[in-house]
Amino acid sequence: MQQILFYILALLAIAFSIATITSRNAMYSVLSLVATFFALAGFYLMLNAEFVAFVHIIVYAGAIMVLFLFVVMMLNLNQSPVNIPRPLLARLAAVVAGGIFGLTLVAALSQTILPTSAESTALAEVGSVRTLGKMLFNEFLLPFELTSVLFIATMVGVVVLTKKEE
């Protein structure tokens, strides 16, 4: 059952991501990307990473994509020439380059010896809120605190950037 679920989700993720980069309308792109993210959240659940899955939905689908949507609507670029695709040759080049990129990565994978799986008993705990919380506030306390500095800086930066000049 899970096997079938995995391949269906994988198919959906790939299809939506292709839709994201190909659709002429930026609005559809955003919505396709949201769908892709939901598929990804499905994988996270499958991997016993429930907390990551929920945070993923909340942060990406809920916050980041809303921001995208907002900007797309604000700029209202549906009729803009920006949606006219590049010349065929450029498109072909882009696809070939990306394809070779993926092939190289897969080739790299084929040469990699993957480690064997850990004890199954430990796995249930790995993705739990308790484990993640302990880790985040012990080993990764300093980076965690630093992210708040990053956010402050970002907020200030965004405000300064978008503020209309007097």
Partner: protein, 106 residues
């Protein structure tokens, strides 16, 4: 609980994430619309996240998932700033076509 990797091998997760990443790369190269380019970058980041979580689950080490949080944080900050810059560019150039952005050489 059943071990997921007995049903779906780790390689498949990795290949999936590589495919998503490559699609992101293609998107960056293919599109002129800056917003879509941005979204392609988000796609790449998520491909990496998927890989990190897969490895985390595979190895039984939570650190990978903590990393995912940090990636999300950075991505959120990046998107906020990036979109702000994008809005600024639009205000100045009246376009978000990356082909129009040729001022970088000055």
């Amino acid at each position: 609980m059943a071990q997921i990797f007995n049903i779906v091998p780790l390689e498949h997760f990795i290949i999936l994430s590589l495919i998503l990443f490559s699609i992101g790369v293609i998107g960056v190269l293919l599109r002129r619309n800056m917003i879509v380019v941005f979204m392609s970058i988000e796609l790449m980041l998520n491909a990496v996240n998927l890989m990190a979580v897969s490895f985390s689950a595979h190895k039984g080490d939570s650190a990978g998932q903590v990393f995912v949080f940090f990636v999300m944080v950075v991505a959120a900050a990046e998107v906020a700033l990036g979109l702000a810059i994008l809005v600024m560019i639009y205000r100045n150039v009246k376009s978000i076509d990356i082909n129009e952005l040729k001022q970088l050489k000055w």
